[in-house]
Symmetry: C2
Subunit: 465 residues, 2 copies
């Protein structure tokens, strides 16, 4: 009977939402397929988080080697091979993508190569790709098609002079100079990467701070640090008149009335993302949308029965870990494996040096909300481990409610910030107070002591400041 | 009146217990003095945790530079200056010790240089040192004299051929070969350090695993990793007949009936610590002791009114962070600033590579206790961040009670283990379940995701394995 070929779930998109949702369905013993037009892993694994972290690790080590004498070490002719740095990062992405294919097999996820298209609810057609022309009958469909880079108006990507992060991740030749448009996480990470390797970097942000979503105090310190590192940072500045020429790219930096022409080797546009729904479903299927993103209810269901959506395609914060969480929750809910939860708290991380990580609200947002608050701050300069590691830049800032001690926001800038934030993610999830963190014994000497000391500082009980 | 010169608290010992207790009393507005025979910071800051971490950072970076090509980097003539590595670590210790002196001033702690001696309860005499001959009248006394290295029977320290960690931290010349007796945290860290810099290391442990207090599975992996790194590891082996000669040190490694003679440049004894109470109080004061350690009640009070004790001097686990916690609790209790708590949970860390960190019980201890348990394990090889960082050795192992999900023990071996353990310290303090950790969104890509995946694995819901 046709029944035997019917899937319990077909997932369209194999990124952090899609592959995780598919694997979760497999764990639940469901008959599941994942349709992906490139290879599993999505933007994150193939064109984002993972390969960019590999690039950053090379840049970090290069910088450390240049300063090896600080550690009593010596070396000569420190150098790098740009192509090798890039190809190492591709190898890392390859390895992880193969890992997902292995997990698909292990969890009995049927993996189809091509563009998934919902013809009618319950029927997914594969267009293009290796499995073109196949039709998958399914009880449920999960749309997890994610986002793609927002094009810069008037700019044509050529992968050499004009790039988004995607092209930058596979470029062959290091540019001598680069204009990065947008100082969000991606722009800032590439600014660190290029600058660390000696490219002349101009980082331009239309808003008044780097990392506009982060706490102002953190952003200011990062901006200062970047300037000290040699990045030319332009805030409150627009980029206009971008033109590619034979020898490079010209543009105008516009700040108020002031126009500064600039000429660079290459331009990297990092001005955000847009939803990626093209061809995902028939025009006869009317899915509710909001500014191009799919609208879902608390069970991640769209307005059309049997069609769910999770990840970037349902809107911000466009983070892989949030996407994964949503897809797992959606699948759990679909198959009665637990009441699905919508995302409340999530950490945000930027992997430049110093690293930036945060969870909850910024001080500015808390101030605006009118809630009386206390701040506990601890500088890494007072941390023995940070000093022993030559990494004493930055601080931990904990903001708690004056009344009941509820933790409202935590902001970290400094070495290992992206790992350290995890403790506060759990703390906030469990509604712990700074007092409870202060009373938890943290290993000495670690950077994590700074988490405890910042909590203690909200009670004026930090020992080391 | 004499009253005005009376202290609320005199602390004897300026280590992690002593200085923290003194600062806490200062925060509470108490008149407090700290008597220290060397300089503030104690063994930890001056002769232990802090300078050793500085040495390890140099060794780590040296190893990374030797493998720079893995990251697309190139270099020639990678080398080091042993004296500079050591002097850097001394500078770090100096800086932190100066920091404590600053904190004493800020918190109005009177700092006396010399050996504190309780003549009668309520009166501390300073013997030796700059402040020799002074008498401090006090309502309360906190003994925080810590521990010192256990001498190896028959071995005379000379700081060159025969060392404990203390001497090793200031040695001028790198030994070509070293015999390290004892594979606890200190022995293992120095084994990593010397081996990383090219010294021929023989690491000998009388018990059957390296890091005898750690989970067997972790210790086994570390032992294998050390062997791969080139350390000669001898378990279940005693060291006998240690003799210094003109050209070095000879000794016998005794395993059962087998005796292997060995000749090395230097020997480092790391066989634990013994209580350090010599001269701390008059023989007329009868303080209850247990195997040389002071016995205290739940308020850290000894059997003599007004005399308290905290830190290593009240017995294991001999960890700086535990000592600090105890002293703060003792002082809070003394002055009515909260009901003091005795130490329950505490993390333990070893800073070799791969790093080791744990909290709670080992699997062996849990098995012996008869409590039915579940294990969730996640290998760093499946972590995108670990792979991107060339640091995929190791795993996270979470052990929870079969019945109610109580987390019984967490064991981490791998990059950044010593920072990662903090989240589970908080989790266990708050009695969180693995399910709650699994449901907490962890940032991608971070090593901390492995903490979540291991928790999920206890429920058979890890995505990436």
């Amino acid at each position: 009977m046709a029944e035997t070929n019917e899937y319990d779930l077909v997932v369209i998109g194999g990124g952090p939402a899609g592959y995780a949702g598919a694997i979760r369905a497999g764990q639940l013993g469901k008959k599941v397929a994942c349709v992906e037009m490139e290879r599993p892993g999505g933007t994150c694994l193939n064109w984002g988080c993972i390969p960019s972290k590999a690039l950053l690790k090379s840049a970090e080590l290069y910088q450390k080697m240049l300063h090896a004498a600080d550690f009593g070490l010596s070396t000569e002719s420190v150098g790098f091979d740009f192509e090798k740095i890039v190809s190492r990062s591709r190898n890392v992405a390859d390895q992880m993508a193969n890992g997902i294919e292995f997990l698909f097999k292990k969890n009995k996820v049927d993996y189809f190569r091509g563009t998934g298209h919902i013809n009618v609810p319950g029927m997914v057609e594969i267009k293009d790709g290796l499995d073109k022309g196949k039709f998958l009958k399914t009880k449920n469909t999960l749309l997890a098609t994610g986002c793609k880079m927002r094009p810069f108006p008037g700019l044509k990507l050529d992968g050499e002079r004009v790039m988004t992060s995607r092209e930058a991740l596979v470029q062959k030749k290091q540019p001598d100079s680069v204009l990065i448009i947008g100082a969000g996480a991606i722009g800032v990470e590439f600014a660190y990467f290029y600058n660390a390797l000696g490219t002349d970097v101009t980082l331009v942000e239309v808003l008044d701070q780097v990392l506009p979503v982060e706490d102002e105090e953190v952003a200011k310190l990062l901006g200062r640090s970047f300037k000290k590192q040699g990045v030319s940072v332009h805030l409150g500045t627009k980029v206009d008149n971008v033109k590619t020429t034979k020898g490079g790219v010209t543009a105008d930096l516009v700040k108020g009335d002031k126009v500064t022409p600039i000429k660079v080797d290459a331009v990297l546009s990092a001005i955000g993302v847009i939803p990626n729904l093209e061809g995902a479903f028939s025009s006869k299927i009317k899915l509710d949308q909001d500014r191009g993103y799919l609208t879902v209810n608390d069970r991640y269901a769209t307005n059309v029965a049997g069609i769910y959506a999770a990840g970037d395609i349902i809107g911000p914060p466009w983070l892989a870990h949030v996407a994964t969480y949503e897809a797992i929750q959606a699948v759990n809910g679909m198959f009665g494996a637990g009441e699905p939860k919508r995302v409340g708290l999530f950490p945000g991380c930027t992997y430049c040096l110093p690293q930036v990580a945060s969870i909850g609200k910024t001080e500015q947002a808390i101030k605006e909300s009118g809630v009386p608050y206390k701040i506990g701050k601890f500088p890494f300069a007072a941390s023995g481990k940070a000093v022993a590691s030559n990494a004493s830049e930055g601080f931990v800032k904990v903001i708690s409610a004056e009344t009941d001690g509820e933790i409202l926001g935590v902001h970290i800038i400094g070495a290992d910030a992206t790992e350290l934030i995890a403790e506060y993610a759990l703390a906030m999830e469990l509604e712990a107070t700074p007092h409870e963190i202060h009373e938890t014994i943290h290993a000495h000497p670690t950077l994590s002591e700074a988490l405890m000391e910042a909590a203690a500082a909200t009670e004026n009980q930090a020992i080391h400041i």
